[in-house]
């Protein structure tokens, strides 16, 4: 896996991106995002969120936080447990994309 693949997965949502996680991959993605990295939680909703924690709860939170039509990328360590998600309110109606980038990629 590379930070470049994560950026590709974000696609056109890579305009205002929040990264969740503290590992090496997360740091590389932040560096690669440059000005597109959103660091102020009070700012406008991010167009993309990269979740690199392996925590299902963080994915659910990212779907709530991301802007309409935005993208949430699962990267880094894969979640071990299934997630409990409201796919209607948090994904379907708002036109979100949830995409995976495998850890071995």
């Amino acid at each position: 896996m590379s930070a470049q693949q994560v950026l590709q997965a974000l696609g056109s949502s890579a305009r205002r991106v929040e990264v969740v996680g503290e590992g090496k991959l997360a740091e590389e993605v932040r560096l690669l995002l440059g000005a597109a990295l959103q660091q102020d939680p009070a700012a406008a909703p991010p167009t993309g969120v990269v979740v690199a924690t392996g925590d299902p709860a963080a994915v659910a939170a990212a779907l709530v936080r991301v802007d309409d039509l935005g993208t949430v990328v699962l990267a880094g360590a894969a979640p071990r447990e299934p997630a409990v998600l409201d796919l209607y309110g948090d994904l379907h109606v708002r036109g979100l994309v949830l995409v995976g980038v495998p850890s071995a990629g």
């Binding site: 309409d68 699962l74 979640p79 796919l87 209607y88 036109g95 979100l96 995409v99 995976g100």
Partner: protein
């Protein structure tokens, strides 16, 4: 055991189930690197979204809801909905998007409730709405996607109120009227008003009655029945006499070569009715029974709608009839112009409220539904010292399983409004006390899923309409609207009801 989903390996899976738990199977059906489009609105929380699979297999889960297009348009301008619609329609037109196997049966959008019911019942597995079935005034135009055109504030009338006789031939049918009591007077007036009939002769066994009626409506009173049955002077005769005289006079008139109208019932009982029908058949004259309420605007509209499928398969019917007949009725009718006890005598009248009044309702039930009654179970009340029933409650079972109750009373003080209701799988018809229809079908002039008023009219002209139709049938050389066979079917139901009252058991309706 494998369910095969893992072998599908689709590049794109569209989850249109609306089931919150379908996300797992949908992801499994996608190939690695594939896309799952969440198109159906999943209701409820998805408890087991396999995020590990989604990530490790590089899957994309895409939410697709029409409101996202509005968000896109707001941010970026343009018309993304229109662009998608155009792309889809161009794809269908070019064949790149094969849709013929998805379209299924075309459905009128006004019948959407019925469509979903059929889908739920698995009568259909695919269907589409054909918006061209809507009348132009009800179609949406431009971008007014969320604005439904105004529905009529009032319920709608359906068919013309006064059906004209369906006649093609010319001429006038000459009538005699036998029996000049209350009903005979009504018949004479109807003949006098009819555009294709002439009132020529009148006769009654009671001196003076025929003269009275002739003075009101025209024609010549003659003292003897035989003089009224004169084929040189009349073409047809209307019998408005006690029920026990119907069959003998039908036979006598038929032998004279006259066409015959009988005031209901056809006979005093089923056997007599059969004799009358046979006499007409053997002599080749037309025989009809006067069931004039068929010609009311409401029943006529109801019949047209029922034939068009407004009710669907018959489920049931209910009739409640009330009359408040005074004691004087039983010895002199409503007017008292002639004194005779025949209405209260079983062997002369054949019965009470069932044969005297409810025959009209039974005829309407059969006429409007086309159904066949197989069995009748009835109970009746006959007042002490009387011969004919004053009240009856009958349960009818139709071929196909539909049921009906027919209740009548001739001694209901105050005589509240009567009721006549018929219902089927797709609609309900009420003729009394209001003439209205509810149907799920989109039929001309009808709003589905609402009560639609049927046209109303007075009762004065239905008998005239009946006479005009009968005369037209004779002049055109075709069968009358109310055939002897139909009248026999009504009589057979009445007969079964009286047999049931006597036996205390349900009785099969004999073949007409």
């Amino acid at each position: 055991m494998s369910d095969g989903l893992d072998d599908v390996a689709a590049a794109v899976v569209v989850d249109a189930t609306g089931d919150a738990e379908a996300i797992g199977p949908a992801l499994r059906a996608a190939r690695d690197g594939g896309t799952v489009v969440l198109l159906g609105s999943p209701r409820g929380v998805s408890p087991d979204v396999p995020l590990r699979d989604l990530q490790e297999r590089r899957l994309r889960l895409v939410g697709a809801h029409v409101s996202a297009l509005a968000t896109q348009a707001k941010r970026e301008g343009g018309d993304p909905f229109g662009a998608l619609a155009r792309a889809f329609l161009e794809g269908v037109a070019s064949g790149r998007v094969p849709a013929h196997d998805l379209s299924g049966e075309a459905t009128d959008p006004r019948e959407v409730g019925l469509m979903y019911a059929r889908l739920a019942a698995r009568e259909l597995d695919r269907v589409h709405l054909d918006w061209t079935m809507l009348p132009p005034a009800q179609r949406l135009s431009g971008r007014r996607l969320l604005r439904w055109p105004a529905l009529p504030e009032t319920t709608c009338a359906v068919l013309p109120a006064s059906p004209a006789p369906a006649r093609t031939g010319a001429g006038v049918l000459r009538f005699a009227v036998l029996g000049c009591g209350d009903v005979g007077d009504a018949h004479a007036r109807a003949v006098a008003r009819a555009r294709n009939a002439e009132l020529v002769l009148l006769a009654d066994a009671v001196p003076g009655l025929a003269e009275q009626v002739a003075s009101r409506h025209g024609g010549t009173a003659v003292p003897q029945v035989e003089q009224a049955l004169d084929p040189d002077r009349v073409d047809a005769v209307i019998l408005a006499v006690p029920h026990d005289l119907h069959a003998p006079l039908v036979t006598q008139a038929a032998r004279a070569g006259l066409h015959v109208v009988v005031e209901k019932p056809l006979g005093v009982d089923l056997r007599a009715a059969r004799r009358a029908a046979l006499a007409a058949e053997r002599t080749g004259v037309l025989l009809s029974v006067c069931f004039p309420y068929r010609y009311g605007a409401g029943p006529a509209a109801a019949r047209a709608l029922a034939v068009a499928g407004a009710l669907g398969p018959l489920r049931g019917a209910a009739v409640v009839f009330h009359a408040d007949k005074p004691a004087s009725y039983w010895v002199g009718g409503f007017s008292g112009r002639a004194t005779s006890p025949w209405r209260a005598q079983r062997d002369r009248a054949g019965g009470g409220v069932m044969i005297m009044n409810l025959t009209h309702h039974v005829d309407l039930l059969l006429h409007l539904t086309g159904a066949v009654v197989e069995q009748v179970a009835a109970v009746a009340r006959t007042a002490p010292g009387q011969e004919v029933e004053e009240a009856i409650a009958a349960t009818l079972t139709f071929t196909g399983g539909a049921v009906a109750t027919v209740i009548g009373s001739s001694s209901t003080r105050g005589a509240p409004p009567s009721r006549l209701e018929i219902w089927g799988e797709l609609g309900t018809l009420q003729l009394e006390p209001e003439a209205r229809l509810w149907t799920e079908r989109a039929l001309p002039g009808v709003v589905p899923g609402r009560w639609n008023a049927l046209p109303e009219d007075g009762q004065d002209d239905v008998r005239t309409a009946y006479v005009e139709h009968f005369a037209a049938a004779v002049l055109d050389g075709r069968p009358p609207d109310v055939s002897a066979q139909q009248a026999l079917a009504v009589q057979a139901v009445v007969d079964a009801a009286y047999r049931s009252v006597a036996s205390g058991r349900p009785e099969a309706v004999e073949p007409a």
